[in-house]
């Protein structure tokens, strides 16, 4: 489709650009007044973008002469990313970490990063894939280091950008080799030509695809490109950590599936084997490294590496069922992980601690928050009847169907290991006496938001209809 006709289908992205600029302008005009005006304007912008995404809907179209693909797959990820961003904006309003004077820039960046993530989810050309990945990365570096007067935040940004720049440079080198072998930058055309080339030059194809995996693997924090993630998650402001662990990871998986499902999966290299080893290593590393952690943010960082491993399990199958299981798990992961991070924000704000010790006796000080945290943590472990169980069940079922029994066993064993470190927080909250008996009071809005995470975390564990809906979608209409 040509440029002019494409614009109609590109409205969500355009709305995001307009609102990113509007937020900056609004911030300039209203300088000095400490209100949440910019945050509300950003939320309104995201609402408009969501409506635009739904109005454009599930069409199968190639936009801008095959640069961008718009299909159900992209729409799904756009909605996930929009929800995660909106929640992050509300988190930032609740949390008192941010300098009120810099809020305009912060919200403008949070909106602008959506543009990159949208394009990651819908890229059909390696040029767009690389540009969108870099857009997201550059913005995340700034967001991670946003607390300029906090050494930990600056250090997080510093480590993030060194790892990120090397990873994306490596990916670009791989992309250039793939371009050289196929003479095209379209992902689908590369996929048509690559199998033939791979049969005559297997090493060249293998090396370039591993190089490309460095870039995407770094975005989803998979072993061996995970090293940045604990440090960045610990140092960054908590709302940004929550955002990176959900939205950034989701966008990374979208790009990963686009690249491997359409292009590289078809080559005669045994990707399923290679990637399932990566997946097993990722979850094992994440879970083992989480065991001794005292800082809850860092613990959740390792836990999100482990969840990246579980998600990777669905991707490695390179099948429709696997992809649908990944999408279903991503919905659930979004609710339970954002919920857990919201509790971390509330506790950090009221108790002033990010360590497990700060959670001691939370059940008597703030019963509802403690119970909600127990639900999130058990759901992250994958205990029935919570949503995490449903997500893992679907993932493991897809893996077993492909006869990758060892991978399923590794996954189950990992879930057992993960129970240990989640339980440590639960134990501190429920059984350890607190030094401070004073009850904590939270605003009504915060409690309502917490409820909005608790309900889907319980509901999706009992009510699996959304998965049946996903399962019945014909794949070629959904992604293609």
């Amino acid at each position: 489709m040509g440029n002019l006709e494409s614009i109609r289908y590109f409205t969500p992205e355009l709305i995001i650009v307009v609102f990113a600029i509007l937020v900056i302008l609004f911030d300039l005009v209203s300088r000095g007044q400490s209100s949440n005006g910019t945050a509300y304007l950003s939320l309104f912008g995201l609402l408009c973008a969501t409506i635009a995404v739904l109005v454009v809907g599930n069409v199968n179209q190639s936009l801008f002469f095959g640069m961008v693909r718009i299909d159900g797959f992209a729409t799904f990820f756009k909605i996930i990313i929009l929800i995660a961003t909106a929640v992050t904006i509300i988190f930032s309003m609740v949390s008192n970490e941010l300098d009120p004077k810099a809020q305009g820039e912060y919200y403008a960046l949070l909106i602008a990063i959506n543009l990159g993530m949208f394009l990651m989810a819908s890229s059909a050309n390696i040029l767009i894939a690389y540009l969108s990945l870099e857009t997201v990365s550059l913005t995340s570096y700034i967001l991670a280091g946003f607390l300029t007067r906090n050494p930990r935040s600056s250090e997080a940004a510093f480590k993030y950008i060194i790892y990120g720049a090397v990873a994306s440079g490596t990916m670009l080198f791989g992309l250039s080799l793939v371009f050289g072998m196929t003479g095209t930058t379209s992902i689908v055309q590369i996929g048509q030509q690559l199998p033939e080339i791979a049969s005559s030059y297997p090493t060249a194809v293998l090396v370039s695809i591993i190089f490309i995996f460095a870039g995407v693997g770094y975005k989803i924090a998979s072993v061996p490109f995970h090293m940045w993630s604990p440090d960045v998650y610990e140092g960054a402001p908590i709302p940004v950590t929550a955002f990176l662990s959900v939205a950034s990871k989701a966008a990374g998986f979208a790009l990963f599936i686009r690249l491997f499902y359409f292009s590289f999966g078809a080559t005669n290299v045994n990707w399923t084997m290679l990637l399932s080893v990566v997946s097993a290593l990722t979850m094992t590393f994440g879970n083992l490294a989480a065991l001794p952690q005292q800082n809850v943010k860092r613990l959740l960082a390792y836990s999100s590496i482990a969840h990246g491993g579980y998600l990777l399990m669905g991707v490695v199958l390179l099948s429709g069922d696997g992809i649908k299981a990944v999408l279903f798990y991503l919905i659930i992961y979004m609710f339970m992980n954002l919920g857990a991070f919201f509790v971390v924000i509330l506790v950090a704000k009221e108790v002033g601690s990010e360590n497990i010790d700060g959670y001691k006796g939370l059940i008597s000080r703030a019963p509802f928050v403690a119970v909600a945290m127990v639900i999130f943590l058990f759901s992250l472990t994958g205990m029935p009847p919570l949503a995490g169980f449903a997500g893992k069940w679907v993932l493991f079922a897809a893996v077993v169907e492909k006869k990758l029994y060892w991978l399923a066993i590794v996954g189950v064993l990992n879930s057992v290991v993960s129970l240990y470190y989640y339980i440590r927080i639960v134990k501190a909250m429920l059984f350890d006496p607190s030094e401070d008996a004073e009850t904590l009071s939270f605003s009504r809005g915060s409690m309502a938001l917490l409820m909005a995470f608790v309900v889907p975390t319980i509901l999706l564990g009992i009510y699996w209809k959304p998965y049946d809906f996903l399962k019945d979608l014909p794949l070629d209409r959904f992604i293609g």
Partner: protein
């Protein structure tokens, strides 16, 4: 005198890329690390430009001696812009690191561990 072939360009770009990775891994100064990263990106540019000259593709412009697969050139242009953006963000982060730690060595700015 023999002609310059694709292999020559690929050799140069591979050497540049390796040097870039080497600089990132061994240097103890953030500015030199940034230079290493720029080397990596520019080696990719050489690849793209060389391939666009030597590879035949459906979108090839021109014929014979002066044919070009134009996507490679476009990729290189975008990468140059991105490298500039990345350098800007990197330098800003280096500034804030220097203010907090009085050093721009990754070894001395290592408080987050575990």
């Amino acid at each position: 005198m023999s002609n310059i072939t694709l292999e020559h360009y690929l050799l140069i770009s591979s050497i540049l890329f390796t040097l870039g990775v080497f600089a990132v891994l061994t240097r103890r100064n953030a500015i030199t690390i940034l230079m290493g990263i720029e080397l990596m990106l520019n080696s990719c540019n050489i690849n793209f430009i060389a391939f666009s000259r030597f590879v035949k593709s459906p979108t090839t412009v021109g014929a014979g001696e002066v044919s070009l697969a134009i996507e490679g050139q476009i990729m290189a242009l975008f990468v140059i812009v991105l490298a500039a953006a990345e350098a800007a963000v990197f330098l800003a982060i280096i500034l804030s690191i220097y203010r907090e730690f009085n050093s721009i060595s990754p070894d001395e700015t290592n408080t987050l561990k575990g």
